[in-house]
Symmetry: C3
Subunit: 300 residues, 3 copies
């Protein structure tokens, strides 16, 4: 592994290795030491949460970061090309972690510079570190990635996290329930892929009553702005909100995941149940990113 650009670049054994390193880091069996090492965090699109997670990952390994976020790159304003910005940053840092609104930006970066690139989100395309922390959260709570029944709820059309996770879990024999309004359903190209791989999936329009056979329910936010008519939003939104009452018949190993931030698609009365796992999932993100950085820098 020289870069982490897309989940599609990873073979199952590479995923297992990365999750195994993550577990050892969480348990303190591996304690990477990044003293005097620097990660450059280039966030051309703002994302407090993801940036904090990487910043934390590096600093808790005794390393440090240099941060360029939003429109703060005064060199770009002077007319510098993206390639030159990258080549200059590469003189300063050991690894570049970048988020961009442009699909393919991370791949391009990996072709310009010699140091490792981590894709922290490139437009609607890929967000592989989120997918990997989701996989780690599933593995940790279920003891396996194999043959699980996974519900995905909310906006399945535009969610790059959802797409990466679906593709990744299909490698491990998962069965899916896609729970969404019809016009926010899973894109055809992903469903076609699943069909080709003989992966089972159902598409349903209602969360309530459909979660008792699931191992994992992965909830995402539905943006009001996606609806042409606000009344349509009001009509459907209740069907994609999880609350405590709906948890009475779930499996004992059932866990609710969410990439955060949450708005109201998971009622706060779920937070204190043993099924809520979304804040722990955020913490898992730090360990996962530490494993990714450590592997790419050859520290483990």
């Amino acid at each position: 592994m020289k870069n982490l650009i897309s989940m599609r670049d990873l073979k199952p054994e590479e995923i297992y290795h990365l999750l195994s390193v993550t577990e050892k880091i969480e348990k303190g069996e591996i304690i990477p030491d990044m003293q005097r090492k620097l990660a450059a965090l280039l966030f051309f699109e703002p994302s407090t949460r993801t940036m904090f997670s990487f910043d934390t990952a590096m600093k808790r390994m005794n390393g440090d970061t240099i941060i360029m976020s939003g429109t703060k790159n005064t060199s770009a304003k002077k007319g510098e090309s993206f390639a030159d910005t990258l080549q200059t940053i590469a003189q300063y840092s050991d690894i570049i972690i970048m988020r961009s609104p442009t699909e393919g930006a991370a791949r391009f970066a990996s072709e310009v510079v010699e140091i490792p690139i981590v894709n922290a989100g490139d437009g609607a395309n890929q967000h592989p570190t989120q997918a990997l922390l989701d996989l780690y959260s599933i593995l940790k709570t279920q003891g396996t990635l194999k043959n699980l029944k996974i519900g995905l709820a909310g906006d399945l059309r535009f969610g790059r996290t959802i797409h990466s996770l679906t593709q990744a879990m299909s490698l491990f024999g998962a069965e899916f329930k896609f729970i969404s309004p019809s016009f926010l359903q899973m894109p055809d190209y992903i469903k076609d892929d699943l069909t080709l791989q003989n992966v089972k999936f159902d598409e349903i329009r209602e969360m309530n009553g459909n979660i008792s056979d699931l191992d994992i329910l992965y909830v995402t936010r539905i943006q009001k702005e996606r609806f042409a008519d606000p009344e349509d939003y009001e009509k459907v939104k209740g069907s994609y909100v999880l609350n405590r009452d709906m948890l009475s018949h779930v499996k004992d190993n059932f866990k609710v995941l969410h990439p955060l931030p949450r708005v109201d698609e998971i009622n706060t009365d779920v937070d204190n149940t043993k099924y809520a796992y979304y804040f722990s999932q955020a913490k898992n993100g730090v360990y996962t990113r530490q494993a990714i950085i450590s592997i790419l820098l050859g520290e483990v």
Copy 2:
């Protein structure tokens, strides 16, 4: 001590303990090591000075910070609740230091998360780390907190620092002079408190000629904007400006404190006198905050 939210939560023996740890840190008798430890600095209201002081405190202890300031929290923009923001940040950091324009925000935070909260100012309410660094500055320059004569000058009505300091010093037998324009005088609820505790205080309208019996003069800024009529401001402002000439009859142990930033309420000709202590006071802030963080994280 699990959190530091308000001076009213602290007993005198806790204050003494904290100031004693501060002194040991300043003298190098305690050298906390915060390697791989992180303080989250959440500044929902900007404050360069206070943020720098905490940032410095943590980094000089070999620790590090993650910083969210101003409107940079993109998750809040997406509709995330304050409680969720706090719970997520708590996955990343060991302690949260927060400033907010909202009274009670720090107390609320301490009820939401498990990790320690330090209130770095919540609206007009409390700013306990400022009060503690003021107490440390008084103790260091006077050798005692007991039975001192303290002048407080400037805006006594809106100054949360002034209020916290008055309440704290009244525990140690202080006597006060309140020096302010009438409409910026100390609020009744504080004066009533002092009267109940048999604490002596005078209210005067003029700094000059009234400072020769003081041990400490604590000066604050009068904001022009507080005056309905700009002419009223012009009339009174001279009465609350300290200059070198006024220092001819002060006590030998007399010290001038100011929370900074200063505008023109202390003439710069005071800076080179032995009575000026405001820049050293800023440095004391770093030691005091190191002590607070160290105690809350169980390092001392």
Copy 3:
């Protein structure tokens, strides 16, 4: 050396010492340890590149930074004087690195505070750390600073980097070619200086055909905005663009330098030739700044 304000303050032997420390740091023969030490980066004028370089320099020495950039200083907004801001920052940090749009700001700062000041650019005046990293790059690639033939191309009128470098290299017996449009030529006061020192220089209007006898070509950007008439810009701009074809007859030791960011004054087809040195030059900036900080803090 107590501060680094201007190249004019440095004697040749001081420059040699500094470059020698830089080389030892690059080679790992000196490994400064700045644990618990803090540099304050005060960038009153934005400059991503220079700030990153200093931030990197400090963090790679195991130290850390506190950063105030742009208009973020809320104390200044409240009416605090520049001198007070500096005196307060000096309570928090070991060294102040500052960039300001105001000529003389760094010199003023050095008179206000006791801790070392590094001038990271003060308006059109000085940018000594850039000049020193340029000198280090010349020394490293040529093996000597003495008796070199140096071409300076682009905007020679407003480039403070160009001016500092010319003055510095004239101390070492350099001979110059100034390549620029007439109205962006080297200012008279610098040419008069050179004449007084018997330094040879030519002024020419065309890069092509004039670089085969050079050891170093230092290219800078020509800003379109400098031209009153945009058509004039279009006419001349081609004369100041370096491309690969022009490199066929250069000397074997020839190197192209550029302070970056580049726009189009060096064609990217030059990047992969052995003559391109501008990205390595950026990396040299980190070592040079580490040497400067280490010397000023008495660590070497």
